[in-house]
């Protein structure tokens, strides 16, 4: 149990006040319009959304699962954190295409890419799913904070969940995305600095870099330094086949949109950047910082392993990085460390409060319920949606223990059977709304079969997750490819408008030819028909 001194409380209260103030200062900008409340007016230089990408993806539970995989698999466990690398290609491909579409959300993009009833059904589905997902993530991350506070101070779990999310809601309600992005910048700087300081402290406590290498050798654990220490091609719980599958999902996923659950948050950062170039660099550098941070953490966790090598209980060693900070930091710095944990937490909470509210406000309320709403009304609906998400996240968080396996299953749905359709919708003109919709529906049924039902009847063995991915991809394709070819392509007029605006990569030959025939790809003239949507 950690005991806080007066100096610690001064750090904590000071940091909280500065974070809230940073958000509230932008109250006047946030309330100006929908574009300000959800996209900061689309005018941000690349380093602001980049810091938000970094801050958002540094959540309270992140050091726990990074510690878990590194403690278990050594430095090679870093590949579990490499899913973020979808931004490598995305920054220069799907980010560029999405930024040019100017869509507020992925759901809106669906109606630009596809047309008619299918597109509207997709928009409704994706936006409803995202409102749910953001509430779920808020609950998930919130309860992680509850557990950290319980571990450190013995507080009841609900205290950490409710208190800090509610503090965060103050500036998100006041200033919307302006508050999120400005607080994220500050929180990102604090978090990065503290992660470095605590990690270095832990490394020094374990004998420094050379001490860690030497001690691992003496313990017969040198393999932990090898980033490619896999358990065989297909054998063991960390095979090369898993690594290659991860590389395909992460790296090639960058050609698509929505191939990673993080895409939906990044899409907001992409649209808030002031230009295509700023959008690309924000995604690339924000993610580079995430990956570098992970490698610093990995070394700190190796230090933790040297100090505490025989912990068998996962829930105990997953708290390793926190333990390094609270056990080894000098007096007076504990409050500083906890303030940084709050910063890490608030940056993630604020993003998902505003993101979920944007899907509700822009794609459900404004598009389906009240298309003639004024800007002032839209901002207020955004605030109400933010508040509802906050309250909903408390309920999700408190029942998270019971529903976690179900919700991980729901997340798996996002990754496996719809991974390829998420790429095809970007790169293949013939892929239509019905094909994409059918992939979601097929995946819902197939994933139940492959993950639970068929193994429980002994029809197929329980497969490792990477094999489930390939099987679900194959089974899904057997549905959505025929559906695509048995239904009509999107109207050429609709596709040409989308093409001229977004200039997608891939197989768009017939559409490009038609756009050229209509003279849409020649020169810029904002007043001519060539830019008409």
């Amino acid at each position: 149990m950690v005991e806080l001194q007066l100096i610690d409380w001064i750090w904590i209260i000071g940091f909280i006040l500065v974070m809230i103030a940073a958000g509230i200062l932008f109250y006047r900008l946030g309330k100006r319009s929908e574009s300000d409340f959800f996209l900061a007016g689309r005018g941000l230089p690349w380093w602001l959304p980049a810091s938000s990408v970094y801050a958002t993806h540094t959540a309270t539970d992140t050091p726990m699962w990074v510690t878990g995989v590194i403690y278990r698999y050594g430095f090679a466990g870093i590949w579990y954190t490499f899913f973020a690398a979808w931004c490598a290609i995305s920054a220069f491909v799907s980010t560029r295409i999405f930024r040019r579409s100017l869509a507020y959300t992925q759901a809106e993009w669906n109606t630009l890419r596809f047309g008619g009833l299918g597109a509207e059904m997709l928009r409704g589905w994706i936006s409803g799913w995202q409102v749910f997902m953001n509430m779920f993530i808020l609950g998930w991350v919130g309860i992680a904070m509850g557990k950290v506070c319980n571990y450190l101070f013995g507080w009841e779990i609900w205290v950490g969940l409710i208190v800090f999310s509610a503090i965060c809601a103050v500036y998100v309600l006041a200033a919307g995305y302006w508050g999120v992005i400005m607080a994220d910048f500050q929180q990102g700087v604090i978090a990065f600095f503290v992660i470095i300081v605590v990690s270095v402290w832990g490394i020094v406590a374990a004998g420094g870099p050379s001490g860690i290498v030497t001690k691992l050798g003496e313990m017969g654990q040198s393999w932990r330094l090898n980033p490619f220490a896999f358990t065989g091609w297909f054998s063991g719980d960390f095979p090369i086949a898993w690594f290659l599958t991860m590389m395909v999902i992460a790296v090639l996923g960058g050609f698509g949109m929505g191939t990673s659950i993080d895409w939906y948050a990044e899409a907001q950062r992409i649209q808030s950047a002031k230009s295509v170039r700023d959008a690309s660099y924000s995604i690339w550098w924000g993610t580079a910082l995430v990956l570098i941070r992970n490698s610093v953490w990995a070394v700190a966790v190796l230090a933790f392993f040297v100090l505490f090598p025989n912990i068998q209980n996962a829930s105990e060693y997953e708290m390793g990085w926190f333990k390094l900070g609270f056990d080894y930091m000098p007096a007076g710095m504990v409050g500083f460390f906890f303030a940084a944990i709050i910063a890490i937490h608030l940056s993630t909470i604020s993003t998902h409060l505003n993101l979920g509210a944007m899907y509700f406000t822009h794609d459900l309320y404004l598009h389906y319920f009240k298309p003639n709403a004024t800007e002032k009304e839209i901002v207020w609906v955004g605030r109400v949606a933010t508040f509802v998400l906050l309250i909903g996240s408390f309920f999700y968080g408190l029942m998270m223990e019971e529903i976690t396996s179900w919700l991980i299953f729901a997340l798996w749905l996002m990754a496996a059977g719809v991974w390829l359709p998420n790429v095809l919708q970007v790169v293949w003109w013939r892929f239509n709304a019905w094909g994409y919709l059918s992939s979601w529906i097929a995946n819902l049924g197939m994933s139940w079969l492959v993950v639970w039902i068929l193994p429980s009847f002994g029809i197929i063995p329980k497969l490792p997750d990477y094999q489930q991915f390939w099987l679900l991809m194959l089974l899904g394709a057997m549905v959505y490819i025929p559906v695509t070819f048995l239904t009509k392509p999107e109207k050429m007029e609709h596709l040409v408008k989308y093409y001229a605006m977004s200039r997608p990569i891939g197989w768009w030959g017939p559409v490009k030819k038609e756009a050229e025939r209509l003279g849409l790809l020649t020169k810029i003239d904002v007043n001519s028909a060539e830019v008409k949507l």
Partner: protein, 99 residues
């Protein structure tokens, strides 16, 4: 034909060219080199410094290749953006498009 084009006229940069493909290959490689290289460098292992150095050089090269093109894409696109936004607003609010 030059291996890497760095002067882009308006309109040219909208097409996907070999410069984009160089970056599509380099970018994931840079992430791998920076991730492993940084971690192993913190451990003071020589291979770490080599990988990190390679990652930094290739990251600079990547930006050298793509930055002129991204600037050209951005400059041209921003001239159209205002008109596109107006049309998008109509679509969200179910207004009829003219013409």
């Amino acid at each position: 034909m030059r291996l890497i084009k760095r002067n882009w006229k308006p309109g040219e940069a909208d097409d996907w060219t070999k410069e984009d493909w160089y970056v599509i290959v380099l970018s994931p490689l840079n992430y791998i080199l920076l991730t492993i290289g940084f971690g192993l460098s913190v451990l003071m292992l020589p291979i770490g410094f080599i990988l990190l150095g390679a990652g930094i050089i290739l990251t600079i090269l990547m930006h050298w290749i793509i930055d002129p093109k991204l600037k050209a894409v951005s400059n041209e696109y921003e001239e159209k953006q205002h008109k596109y936004l107006e049309e998008l607003e109509k679509k969200v609010r179910w207004e009829k498009e003219n013409g």
